[in-house]
């Protein structure tokens, strides 16, 4: 159902070649008035603005994403209900008439800006455990704060083929190598950790998997298939790295003895099938069970004291809005430089990226990048390193971030760009 970067470009190019009449009557002409949702510093609540736009689409309205125009503004029909919602949520909206809109379009036409129609609210699933672990999930926080509806899915849903129901799936923090993020090092006796182990072992038994690493490889394969068939995947933190490790290591023992009863294959590095992976290649696995790291994909290695790298700042890449709209959508922000933040996987070393990966954000002079995107089969994936953009040192057991204190968070905007970008469609695709 969704559009990949490649398909978007093809469709847009065809429309450009066909001339201005190709799309028929421009849909915004059918509206009596417009509400501009500015996304620059005039906006009082950037995060809820995404919810306003999403729910307008969900209710059958259409909109536009004015890429690079005033921080990546939205254009919506001027209806009493939208004005009311905006007022209730403290979202800045500006009614504009046709003359003002024409002026804006002229400015967009003459600069590195573009207008992307938003036609249908994507269906969203968040892959998260049924019980609450002692850490938060930035995407769940963001969509809940913005008022965007989502469905929670877990291993049974993935293995039951239910992902096909959704346009967009988010993964957070799961360790798809089945090693429980190596949290046994510090949290072996914690009730929540024991509960997680027991739950995953039970799920493995129900699905005929001999152990948790085998179960998680099946789940990773389900997610890979979802993307291959046209789904959109967004992952943060440890899910980015471990998903690709599980996919590439499908036929290799990459789990330590404590999780599957057998040591890692000493030749695991050489046996990894990176051609199947989404984003990475040639990474080296961490062979020690007592070192809290999975591989050298992560540049920061926050939980390995001797390897830990300090946080810097991340720069969003400036793309051509007219020729690379998908990447441009993913980096819409009112700030181009944002503070970095740690996660189990904080960043992605350049040496392990596939050549086709699109780097969306990077740290100047560092051997790693922060935010990447790519196509895979008929779908696409986006990976953002780190755990919580507004809590750079977030540790197990810390309270959840209260987003009402960060309504203008530039880091959280990156997450919500991903939620909304599947709404930009030209034609339906079968997943």
């Amino acid at each position: 159902m969704a559009v990949t970067r490649r398909q978007f470009l093809a469709t847009a190019a065809a429309a450009m070649l066909a001339g201005p009449r190709a799309g028929g009557q421009r849909w915004w002409r059918r509206l009596d008035g417009h509400l501009l949702v500015p996304m620059d510093d005039d906006q009082q609540n950037h995060l809820k603005a995404y919810g306003l736009t999403y729910n307008a689409l969900h209710d059958g309205l259409r909109g536009e994403w004015l890429l690079n125009y005033r921080g990546g503004s939205f254009l919506l029909p001027d209806t009493p209900d939208l004005r009311r919602r905006a007022a209730l949520d403290g979202i800045t909206v500006q009614p504009i008439d046709d003359a003002a809109l024409a002026g804006a379009r002229a400015e967009i036409a003459g600069a590195n800006m573009d207008s992307v129609p938003l036609e249908k609210a994507p269906t969203i699933a968040i892959y998260k455990p049924p019980t609450s672990p002692p850490w938060d999930d930035a995407v769940t926080l963001a969509v809940q704060y913005a008022g965007i509806p989502f469905t929670q899915v877990w291993d049974d849903d993935v293995l039951g083929g239910n992902l096909a129901k959704y346009d967009w799936v988010h993964l957070h923090h799961e360790d798809f190598t089945g090693q429980f993020n190596k949290l046994y090092l510090n949290y072996r006796g914690a009730p929540w950790f024991n509960e997680q182990v027991i739950r995953d072992m039970d799920t493995a038994r129900r699905h005929g998997a001999p152990n948790v690493p085998a179960l998680k490889k099946q789940v990773a394969e389900g997610i890979r298939s979802f993307v291959e068939r046209g789904g959109l995947l967004f992952a943060m933190c440890g899910a980015t790295e471990t998903l690709d490790l599980a996919i590439a290591g499908r036929n290799v023992d990459i789990a330590s003895v404590f999780s599957d009863g057998s040591p890692m294959d000493p030749n695991a590095d050489a046996k990894m099938d990176w051609a199947r992976a989404l984003a990475f290649r040639g990474a080296h696995l961490e062979m020690s069970p007592s070192i809290n790291s999975m591989s050298d994909i992560d540049g920061h290695q926050v939980n390995v004291p001797s390897r830990k790298q300090p946080l810097g700042v991340v720069t969003l890449f400036a793309f051509s809005a007219k020729f690379d709209p998908v990447a441009t959508m993913l980096v819409q922000d009112h700030r181009t430089v944002i503070p970095d933040f740690y996660g189990v996987t904080t960043s992605f070393t350049k040496a392990t990226l596939k050549p086709t990966d699109v780097v969306l954000a990077y740290e100047e002079g560092a051997p790693w990048v922060k935010y990447i995107h790519g196509d895979y089969g008929k779908g696409s994936w986006t990976f953002l390193g780190g755990h919580d953009p507004e809590d750079p040192q977030h540790a197990v057991g810390n309270p959840s971030t209260d987003l009402s204190l960060h309504p203008n968070s530039p880091g959280y905007r990156l997450i919500l760009n991903n939620v909304l970008f599947p709404a930009a469609k030209k034609k339906p695709l079968k997943t």
Binding site: H173, R188, C237
Partner: protein, 443 residues
């Protein structure tokens, strides 16, 4: 997501983590190592690491064993465990309160209960320790902490227990002050009577600075203004010139509290505070003389809800007199909240220019007494009949809160949405949004 920074920084944690890692490598992923085989330093490691892991009961049991040998680590134990969530606190209580009686465990439990807002439970844990020097010291320490935390009646009990071991007048005075501030003037007088016989109880400086003012205030609070007046007359020579007006005012308010304005005026005259602007203003206000009250209450020397209410009313109405308003403030001073609210509502019919303020004040008083059924009609009247009044947004907010307390979530949301949409510039809009978000989260 990184592990807690102290996991890396603390040698204790690192040592323990290494042990856990070795255990894990041996294949015992979930099993716990029995506490009984651990030496003292291992217990300490376990106490810290288990708390970091959220295994609060395990940590508390380890701390208990550590504290049985070294009670001086009570503060460290309390600091480690104070982050335990409510559902984990039962296990912590079980560990520290289990027999035999452990001084270190009891001190830890008392500090934890105090931090968790259960000061009475904390005192129950501590009060059963056998009397002695170290126990009295713990009681005094707890009393000071409880007083600072606002648990005044518990502080009174702890001070009283401490002076029963070491009778020191200054400590008894602290207990009396806590009792008085906690609404127990009778208990304050008991402690003050005992203080007179204790070490330092006749020290003139202590009497003048603390014991005498407390006694006068306690007697006035009890409505025993005549006795308060006599005490002040007998010991006035001990007081400095600067200290007298405040104590004289206490005596005057004692008469006011009894509803005896004539005696209050007489006492004010006798002690020379009749021209004190505060005394003058309030006595005028109680008598319904709004004009004199307005002139005198320009610079009140105390800030309390009553002062703010009076000042606002006097600036909102042009009326020069209103006996019913005087009665309402007199009711407030005497602690008759319901009577005050009723009179403010009655006054709103006469003082039309201040009607929304008077109605909102009555609404606040009813709400403070949890009488939402009485408050809601007042909020409704303010919102519907005085929509342009400065009290209207507050009335909307409070009307919604009252509806939410009555389990009418939809009605509450409607009120808060009305506030946001009708008064978008109001400073209460963020609060209304918070209420809306909280209601949605619990729906």
């Amino acid at each position: 997501m990184p592990s807690p920074p102290h996991d890396v920084a603390s040698p204790v944690s690192a040592r323990c983590a290494r042990r856990l890692a070795l255990g894990a490598a041996a294949g015992c992923l979930v099993a716990a190592v029995p506490l009984r085989v651990r030496a003292q330093d291992q217990l300490l490691d376990t106490a810290y690491v288990a708390a970091e892991s959220g295994a609060w009961g395990t940590s508390a049991r380890a701390w208990r064993r550590v504290l049985d040998r070294n009670p001086n680590l009570a503060l460290a134990a309390a600091m480690t465990l104070r982050g335990a969530p409510p559902d984990a606190r039962g296990a912590i209580h079980d560990a520290f309160l289990a027999p035999p009686l452990s001084p270190g465990g009891r001190r830890t439990m008392a500090q934890l209960d105090l931090a968790w807002g259960a000061a009475r439970d904390g005192w129950a844990a501590l009060s059963s320790l056998p009397r002695g020097d170290s126990t009295a010291e713990a009681w005094l320490e707890f009393a000071d902490a409880a007083r600072a935390d606002g648990a005044l009646v518990v502080a009174r009990d702890a001070y009283a227990a401490a002076v029963s071991v070491h009778p020191v007048a200054e400590v008894a005075a602290r207990g009396a002050a806590a009792a008085l501030a906690g609404g127990d003037p009778e208990g304050a007088l008991v402690l003050l009577d005992r203080a007179a016989t204790m070490h330092g109880g006749t020290d003139s400086a202590l009497v003048a600075s603390t014991l005498l003012p407390l006694r006068v205030r306690a007697l006035a609070r009890l409505g025993r203004s005549r006795e308060a007046e006599q005490v002040l007359q007998h010991q006035a020579h001990l007081l400095s010139v600067d200290a007298r007006p405040a104590i004289a005012r206490d005596v005057t308010w004692g008469y006011v509290r009894r509803g005896d304005l004539a005696e209050a005026r007489a006492a004010a005259t006798e002690f020379g505070v009749q021209d004190d602007p505060d005394v003058k203003a309030w006595l005028a206000l109680y008598a319904g003389d709004l004009k004199q009250a307005r002139e005198a209450l320009l610079h009140p020397d105390a800030s309390s809800p009553d002062v703010l209410t009076a000042l606002t009313l006097l600036t909102r109405t042009r009326a020069d007199s209103s006996a019913i308003v005087g009665q309402a403030f007199l009711c407030l001073t005497r602690g008759d909240t319901a009577g005050a609210a009723q009179r403010f509502v009655t006054a709103s019919a006469a003082l039309r220019d201040a009607a929304p303020f008077l109605l909102a004040t009555a609404g606040r008083l009813h709400a403070a007494q949890h009488h939402d059924a009485l408050a809601i009609p007042l909020w409704r009247t303010v919102v519907e009949q005085y929509a342009d009044a400065p009290e209207a947004p507050e009335a909307d907010l409070e009307w919604g809160r009252a509806l939410r307390r009555g389990a009418d979530a939809a009605g509450a949301r409607a009120r808060w949405e009305h506030l946001i949409l009708t008064y978008p510039e109001s400073a209460l809009v963020p609060l209304a949004r918070q209420e809306l978000a909280a209601t949605k989260a619990t729906a």
